[in-house]
């Protein structure tokens, strides 16, 4: 069955099975940047933005999201045009194995968005609560989100938010 989804600002026709999760549909169609750590909605590795709201894509049926907008980590920033959250993760050393990173970046993006780039440490900790990481002990991830928030605030006053366009 074919459905139309807007993924990372591009309209895509995906072939999906009736009971297929969004996670599976995305990965089967090449969006392997969305990771699968548990399929149970516990680890957050598959976190994507659905109409700008973070959801574990393993807990959503692909069929249920017709005409909605999906944003994966690559919709936030790419290797060639990274978002400052991504740069902050690398700078802080919040990237060890990197398997949780795509989900962590999506969660961090939401934290910054929801708090207008002014998250308290508690906002950050709570906002990352759905994303498991076994490598870093979260110390540097929390630090990275704080750094990204600061940079975002600085940039806010200087220029409009960078938009990633896939040409």
């Amino acid at each position: 069955m074919k459905i139309s989804i807007n993924i990372n600002s591009r309209l895509k026709e995906l072939e999906v099975k009736p009971n297929e999760t969004l996670l599976s549909a995305l990965r089967n169609n090449g969006y392997t940047e969305v990771k699968c750590g548990c399929s149970e909605g516990e680890c957050g590795a598959c976190l994507v933005l659905l109409d700008e709201k973070p959801v574990n894509s393993c807990q959503v049926l692909a069929m249920s999201i017709r005409n909605k907008q999906v944003k994966t980590v690559k919709g936030i920033g790419t290797l060639y045009l990274p978002h400052l959250i991504q740069k902050a993760f690398v700078e802080a050393g919040a990237d060890q194995c990197g398997f949780c990173s795509p989900g962590m970046i999506v969660a961090s993006y939401s934290i910054l968005k929801e708090t207008g780039n002014r998250p308290s440490k508690e906002d950050i900790r709570r906002g990352l609560d759905g994303n498991l990481c076994r490598c870093t002990g979260y110390v540097k991830i929390i630090e990275a989100v704080g750094m990204a928030a600061e940079k975002s605030l600085q940039e806010e006053t200087q220029k409009p938010e960078a938009v990633c366009t896939n040409m």
Partner: protein, 773 residues
Amino acid sequence: MYKYVNKPAEKIDGLSLVTGEEKFTDDFTYNDMLYVAILHSGYAHAKIEELDESEALKTKGVAGVLSYKNTSSILYTTAGQGYPEPSPYDTRIFNDVMRFVGDNVCAVAAESREIAEEALKKIKVRFSLRNAVLDFEKSESSGIIIHKDDNSHAKIPVYFNPSENLASKVEASVGSFERAFETAPKKLTCTFYTQYASHCAIEPHAAVTWLDSRGRLVIQSTTQVPFHVRRIVSSVCQIPISKIRVIKPRIGGGFGGKQEVLLEPVAALFTWRTKRPAKLVYSRKEVFTSARTRHQYRTVFKAGYDTDGKITALHLDALENSGAYGSHALTVLSNAGSKTLPLLNKIENLKFTGKGVYTNLPCGGAYRGYGATEAYFGLGQIVDMVCQETGEDIVEYYKKWTIKPGETSPVFQALGEGKEGVAMTIGSSSLEECITIGARESQWYEKRKLYSHSTGYNDGRYKRGIGMSVLMQGSAIAEVDMASAYMKMNDDGSFNLLTGATDLGTGSDTILSQIASEVLDIPLSQIVVTSSDTDFTPFDKGAYASSTTYLSGQAVKKCAEGIKKQILKTGAEMLNVKLDLVELKNGFVTSKVGLSRVSFEEVCRYSFYEKNQYQIQASASHVSPKSPPPFAAHFAEIEVDSMTGIIQVLNYVAAVDCGLPINTRLAEGQAEGAIINGLAYALFEDYYFSEKGRLLNDSFGKYGVMTAADIPPVKVFLVSSYEETGPFGAKSISEININGALPSIANAFYNATGKRLFSAPFTPEKVLEALEK
């Protein structure tokens, strides 16, 4: 002093990881690929009397079924260790006896995962049930033999007796424990328990296999040990090593859990037989039950000591629950002694006895800490008990009695991995400084006194305490582990570095580049790293035993030094000056006399095209004559709610001596990750089984992993020392810091309450029970 090492360099794969560009095993899909699903045993102990796969095979889209009926009965160990492995050969790809709930019955390959899973349900198995051993303390006396008449055997000359359910047995002694214990004025005997745990790498185990254009088998898998995978798959699947290539893509964390050859033989056999690509990915539940775990332990410590606190006799007796198979049963057990007992090297009479017993429960394996975590829980408390008795501050005690540079411990030689160990003198240690810094940063003296349970401060519901412990580990296995590297120069002055070392997310690709950069005085961007591809990279034993920075790093350093010599030689020839009058500087060969210089680019072009042409290239191997221990001092401040039994960690300070940290940020990250894992292990991580041996908490949700919202403030201090035998003075850091939480929290608990915790994890139930005693 250094330009590229001892710096917080960003990971070379960092931006690719955080933008989702990097590929992990499950991200690879090939045309015409088969999906594999495994049927696991629901019984803890049963013999398969009949397995009928006919209905499954009739299912549309099913390509084949593998079971004991059509696979080799070659015995092997799933432990990815050097050859011959110290772990017993006690398993087959598919056994006809199921030894734990989660054991492999058979596997189906089909056009899709759904079809494979559907087909599993159509497989009919008739089991004859056997009595199961579910309590490891009763394994030896149970009368139930788990590996009965199955030809299980040890590959090396060690004690292995499956008829007693013994997967391993270790004994070592120095001096005479019995005599010294007998005459000691003060004595202590305590029993401690540590529990099962899952590594919880967020990436589940996976393997993808296919045949290349010349019919060779390619295995891409989530492995810490690509070269051991090649050797072991070759052996059990009867495919020549020359026909196997193992590629390690990015790995989503290992912690020892992926030092195990579990999925590769199954996927490989399907591919070898059907000539089609195959993919096998464990579900999270399978990772919890069927992959490997931390061994459950009972440790009994007997200590005899003088009135001034000097321990004169110490006996550590360890009982290890190996689970159904003996993966790492011997070496984790040995390490429980060899990584802990040398710490207090003034003890003259030492005894270590240990047994690893089979049970019908999930299998233990390698897990960060590797026996040391299990033994430090008791040892750290024994030291605290001695200090409480004599009134000496534990901080001063550790400073006085721990091993110092220039000193040795007879344990190093007495206790190896399946054989004698290697005698070693400590070359580097900043332990004393670690203890001082940790005490200062945790406000040890003020808080220890204030919180002391006898002062009245803690008379209310909430009781605070501070505790500490001192730890050591090793860096690689001396005279056993080998790593190698190869480098070649390219015509723009960049280099390819090919290394067998296995980056699991630890950052070793970055660290090894930093080492090469430092030797050649060129930026990291000029080093192109390829690691862990058995066709292209030279051998490395793999990522385990805290070895990559120390061992593989030294191989890279030697290799880069070989390259440097050649560059200098060609540069001198080009500059027409004597070899001893040129030096390497900033990407140039520079004459020490006059101003002439040639760039790396010019050197390589000259060596390719102009005169006396050759490829500037070098390789190097490294084996270490010793395994220099990193050291650490850990301080935990806690609050105990005596009403609910909940322990909250208020602050955690770790001061760590990893020699010279090659990458300061990544070294901190290793320490922080290990500490949080250790804290979660101390406070709540555990395996709960049904009375029939089924794991009950087999999901992240039920198991409980610490999240960002749960972590206490953690401060890590890297206190450098210089290890002569390591690259630029480096030792290891990956494992040691998981060992501190158990003893430090338990000692803090005593400081707060005057009670001891003997059984981990410190759940509210156990805390309340301890408080009532």
